[in-house]
């Protein structure tokens, strides 16, 4: 739809609003914005309202509240008066929605990016298998090991690189 948002002061296109949302940064991973993360799912106009549909990354992610407030702040700052930020659960967030560009930015920041998820994995069988190998984001070494399933945030696990002797975080794939 090419319909525009109109209020008394201005006419705004959807692509303009998308570009504003790209200015909203994930507070836990300050190199990524909420659009690249795949948190903002959709943008709709309903009468004179802008509806922003978001989906939580991890259920327990304490940053979700902050992200919602940041989106509201951004829209207000740009002069949009009527809007709603709605949480949608229909589709569950997956790291596959992260763009390659975003994954590259994560790696440059020192976080090993998530690899592609596979729906056909036999989870229970894999539980007993060996740990997957996550390359070190600093030196690309494969000689790394998992220190903890849970890192500084719910979305990351903690690894250690035996080659460059650096701890690093891995963005878990879900």
């Amino acid at each position: 739809m090419t319909q525009d948002y109109m209020n008394t002061k201005q006419t705004i296109s959807k692509s303009k609003i998308w570009s504003w949302l790209e200015e909203v940064i994930d507070p836990e991973i300050p190199v990524l914005n909420v659009v690249e993360m795949g948190i903002v799912r959709d943008l709709e106009f309903e009468d004179d309202n802008v509806i922003v549909k978001i989906t939580p990354t991890y259920s327990g992610c304490p940053a979700m509240n902050a992200i919602e407030l940041e989106i509201q702040k951004k829209l207000k700052e740009k002069g949009i008066e009527n809007f709603r930020v709605v949480t949608d659960y229909k589709e569950s967030w997956t790291t596959d929605w992260m763009t390659d560009h975003a994954k590259k930015k994560l790696k440059d920041y020192g976080i090993a990016p998530p690899e592609k998820t596979s729906a056909n994995d036999d989870f229970l069988k894999n539980l007993k298998g060996s740990q997957k190998i996550v390359p070190c984001p600093w030196c690309d070494s494969m000689d790394t090991f998992l220190e903890s399933e849970f890192g500084s945030t719910a979305c990351k696990s903690q690894y250690y690189c035996n080659d460059c002797d650096q701890p690093f975080e891995h963005f878990k794939c879900i």
């Binding site: 991890y58 327990g60 539980l127 903890s148």
Partner: protein, 262 residues
């Protein structure tokens, strides 16, 4: 006395009841896990338990929020803060005091294996899109909880004499609270007809099989399954521990109902 539950519930009441049962298990378990924050045996484990707690409370919040939309309540807080112990429908297992680290891990393991098989079946069954979407999301996180607790069961069971003894005791003590996970009542039978729930008694076999395999690998023995099993929590008849937990969790919100972060 709680009223006898009959299958005269409307569809709306039925879905709310199912959402609350799932949510109550997760809120109370999450609260117990959160008690470890700052007290974990090592920094990584402190973070892990806090993260699992956050996930579980997050699962509960999403389920409560959806129930609130259906029931017309303002938000999820109503269910967490303004109900009494008799209104909570969680299984007793999750309300038991956190005990030592082995006890907490054992409970999390038994509950995560149950949640894994339950959610796997629920996702195949539930037709409601929003509800199913939540289940799919939570299922991904449950896998992490299962992996985390399973590895600790192996480590503690096959660890030192002390850790072996402690975790064996934990399995022996908690076992009498596992029966409730697989018992069915009228509400659940009716919910099955509406594709809102699954027959949990059928989950017992795969659950037991998985637990048994893990215990063998951890050099632990399976507790006697043919023993007295605690019942009644799904109908609001809880152990004394839930009241104490709620007093702590609800006090502030009840004293200052309009308190805000502003």
């Amino acid at each position: 006395m709680s009223k006898k539950i009959t299958n005269t519930k409307t569809d709306k009441e039925l879905i709310i009841e199912i959402l609350l049962r799932l949510a109550d298990d997760r809120l109370i378990h999450g609260h117990r896990l959160s008690e470890w924050t700052g007290h974990g045996p090592e920094l990584e484990e402190d973070l892990a338990l806090a993260n699992v707690a956050l996930d579980m409370i997050g699962h509960a919040a999403a389920l409560y929020r959806y129930a609130a939309v259906i029931e017309g309540n303002p938000d999820e807080d109503y269910y967490a803060y303004f109900r009494d112990d008799i209104d909570f429908k969680n299984v007793a297992m999750v309300e038991l005091p956190k005990g030592d680290f082995a006890y907490t891990i054992t409970r999390q393991f038994l509950f995560s294996v149950y949640s894994y098989f339950l959610y796997e079946k629920l996702i195949e069954t539930v037709e409601n899109e929003q509800f199913n979407g939540m289940l799919q999301k939570h299922f991904k996180e449950i896998k992490y909880h299962l992996r985390h607790s399973r590895e600790w069961v192996l480590r503690l069971g096959d660890g030192t004499k002390e850790s072996h003894e402690r975790i064996q005791n934990a399995f022996d003590e908690i076992w009498m609270y596992t029966g409730e996970l697989f018992s069915m009542d009228e509400t659940e039978h009716t919910a099955i007809e509406k594709n809102l729930f699954v027959d949990v008694s059928e989950l017992k076999a795969p659950w037991l099989e998985f637990v048994k395999e893990t215990l063998e690998e951890a050099t632990l023995s399976l507790p006697d399954d043919d023993q007295y099993m605690f019942t009644g929590s799904r109908q609001g008849r809880h152990t004394e521990h839930l009241g104490h937990l709620l007093a702590q969790m609800q006090f502030l919100r009840r004293s200052y109902p309009d308190a805000d972060w502003k």
